[in-house]
């Protein structure tokens, strides 16, 4: 972003990579796939790079409002400093926090989840999505809580999957009644409380009932949880967990 600023240019959109997308090896693949799609569609985008910091979502959901607001204020100063208007992110948690919780703290931007952004590129004709290798594959989509229930977006990822000409099979609990993967509310960073079962295993079992070849996700944390679940069921050789963006990039051989 600093380079754009130095050249006196404004990017079309800022790609908010997020912590998982920056550091987690699995999530980095999603980041790269999405970046390739942006390049492919000719979108001039920037990233904050080392100037990006955690949005504060896990801190807030863990009850640490102080830390959340510190992170929020620092990010807002950077974003406002660069006069950012539009943000796209591959993480529903970053998406929700920046979109809903930053405005009151002085940071108002147009914020889109990457599936929404890809859908709009598709509509504008800048991006083409074809089935290719995914045509006819059995795929189930796991709704991320922070995209679905939290922000009422159930259709964008599904429309993209339809464009891939996959056979989309819904799990019993989907959309408004979708079951959480178990990572939200800072659970990602702690051991679960005592119980009969881990939530990600419960959700994976439900996904496996649809006999999918691929479990599609739209969140790096869901992706981790579902991948772990698939591993715990020893199905990692036959079932892949993929982000919708990865699937599209893959279909385009990017």
């Amino acid at each position: 972003m600093a380079e754009f600023m130095a050249q006196g240019k404004n990017p079309e959109v800022l790609f908010w990579v997020g912590c998982a997308g920056s550091f987690d090896d699995r999530a980095k693949k999603i980041t790269k796939a999405f970046a390739r799609l942006l390049n492919n569609a000719g979108v001039e985008f920037a990233v904050l790079g080392t100037e990006e910091g955690c949005t504060g979502d896990p801190a807030k959901r863990a009850g640490n409002e102080f830390l959340f607001q510190m992170q929020a204020m620092m990010n807002i100063q950077v974003l406002n400093g660069y006069e950012i208007k539009k943000i796209v992110t591959t993480c529903p948690h970053c998406f929700n926090t920046i979109k809903n919780e930053y405005p009151e703290l002085g940071g108002t931007y147009e914020v889109m989840h990457h599936t929404q952004f890809l859908k709009s590129l598709l509509k504008e004709g800048r991006l083409t999505v074809e089935g290719g290798k995914f045509k006819g594959k059995r795929i189930t989509f796991h709704d991320p809580c922070y995209l679905g229930r939290a922000n009422n977006e159930y259709e964008a990822p599904r429309e993209l999957l339809q464009k891939l000409e996959v056979e989309l099979i819904e799990m019993k609990r989907c959309k408004t009644r979708g079951l959480c993967c178990g990572a939200g509310g800072a659970q990602m960073f702690k051991e679960p409380e005592k119980g009969d079962k881990d939530i990600n295993v419960e959700r994976t079992e439900e996904a496996l009932e649809t006999k999918p070849e691929i479990i599609a996700a739209g969140c790096p944390f869901c992706n981790t949880m579902m991948t772990d679940g698939v591993k715990s069921k020893e199905k990692e050789d036959s079932i892949e967990v993929m982000d919708v963006a990865e699937m599209i990039a893959n279909a385009k051989d990017l």
Partner: protein, 433 residues
């Protein structure tokens, strides 16, 4: 002497409505123990929610069987109130079926009440079977043992008895049966009384009429002690419910002020608080008084249907957390505080609080903030907001987060990521292929 029934009726009415009013005032007083909330925004959307969610029952039908049966009981409840109005006028003025002068319209009304009464009776039986024979999982949770279970059944018995009395009262009413208009159901019941003398019939009719009326008054007063207050509070509760995206959690203003001060290079770090400044607010909630008025209204509105708990991922995987229990605990503690105020004039600390004495930390930390409970509630109750407020208290007032979360938070503070990675490595992915 002839006015004795009228006087008795008036006395019963005054006692019944009076005691109910007294308890409702108590509910209002207790709700006002909570923190003030401003719900004056989005008026259009709020009314829209009341019409759609509360009046229209839009979220009840997500579960079609329960939704349909509930709809019958709900419509029955609303419509049969017209009959109650007639009973009150008759009782006060000694008239008999004052509305019958409406002629065929009256027949139509009473006829539809009778059909509804039968439908309500059948629905209530099905509800009873679901709770006691089929034993649906959501009615069998640990928090449903004892009083909550009995309470649920008592309400069903009440409704069965009231509907029966209504039909018997119509069946034994000789002039009404002679009118032969609107007695669609009761004429069949009247057959059972063939051979009974008119005097006895009249007596049965009077007894049924009086019991029906007294039953309604008792039921009205039972509401305050039961989970059944939702028949009134669902409406204001939906109105005051959130109109924001579910993912938007509130930002604490008290924290914003502190953080702004901290980040202001011109702030004087040694400045004393200005004269007369309010003492800083407590962060988060450890007792009912720290919660908002909407959250306390939520607690009184909850009818313990358990849809929240049955959708909760933590509960489904055997964790202790049950969103319904969060609401029940909040109400139980609020009632305890209420009794304390009644006894002492104002609240005397009793060494107890909502946290630990009612809601354990294990429950609070099991939540994934997925909003399934909020989505599931047919009357816009938000158990998640209470969980979040209590987490805030644990973390910001007590520094009592689970140790792994403390590590996460330290990481965020030091290197702006929940993991111990170097901030300078954030953009490394760009050059990795």
């Amino acid at each position: 002497m002839q006015y004795i029934p009228n006087i008795l009726f008036l006395v019963a009415l005054i006692l019944g409505v009076g005691y109910f009013t007294r308890n409702i005032r108590k509910v209002i007083r207790n709700i006002k123990l909570g923190q003030e909330v401003d719900s004056s925004d989005h008026k259009g959307q709020r009314w829209n929610n009341v019409v759609r969610i509360a009046l229209g029952q839009s979220k009840m039908v997500v579960r079609p069987i329960a939704g349909f049966l509930h709809f019958i009981v709900y419509v029955g409840f609303i419509i049969i109130n017209i009959e109650v109005l007639e009973i009150i006028i008759d009782g006060l003025f000694g008239t008999h079926r004052i509305f019958s002068s409406m002629g065929s319209l009256y027949g139509f009304l009473i006829g539809s009440f009778e059909i509804l009464a039968v439908l309500v009776f059948v629905s209530v039986i099905v509800f009873w079977i679901r709770r006691n024979v089929q034993r649906l999982k959501r009615f069998m949770s640990p928090e449903m043992k004892g009083w909550p279970k009995n309470d649920g059944n008592f309400i069903l018995y009440f409704e069965m008895v009231l509907m029966t009395l209504f039909l018997v009262m119509n069946a034994t009413d000789v002039p009404f049966q002679d009118m032969n208009s609107g007695n669609v159901v009761s004429k069949h019941i009247a057959g059972w009384f063939n051979g009974t003398s008119e005097g006895t019939l009249h007596m049965i009719e009077r007894i049924a009429w009086w019991l029906h009326f007294l039953g309604i008054l008792i039921f009205l007063n039972y509401l305050y002690f039961s989970k059944h207050l939702h028949i009134i509070l669902a409406f204001p509760n939906v109105y005051h419910g959130s109109v924001k995206p579910k993912g938007q959690f509130k930002n604490l203003e008290s924290v914003t002020n502190e953080v702004k001060l901290m980040m202001d290079p011109n702030a004087d770090p040694f400045a004393a608080p200005p004269e007369g400044a309010e003492t800083p607010a407590k962060f988060g909630a450890s007792d009912v008084m720290d919660l908002s008025r909407v959250q306390l209204l939520n607690a009184y509105t909850c009818t313990e249907c358990g849809r929240c708990t049955s959708e909760c991922p933590a509960n489904q995987t055997g964790k202790k957390l049950s969103p319904r229990k969060i609401m029940m605990d909040t109400r139980d503690r609020l009632q305890e505080v209420s009794a304390n105020i009644d006894k002492n004039g104002s609240f005397e600390p009793d060494g107890k609080q909502l946290l630990d004495d009612y809601i354990t930390r294990e429950e609070l930390w099991a939540c994934t903030t997925c909003n399934a409970c909020v989505q599931a509630c047919p009357v816009s109750i938000d158990p998640l907001s209470i969980i979040m407020d209590m987490r805030q208290y644990l973390v910001m007032e007590q520094s009592a987060a689970p140790s792994e979360l403390n590590v996460t938070m330290t990481n965020i503070e030091n290197n702006a990521a929940p993991w111990p990675f170097n901030q300078m490595d954030r953009a490394n992915w760009i050059n990795e292929s």
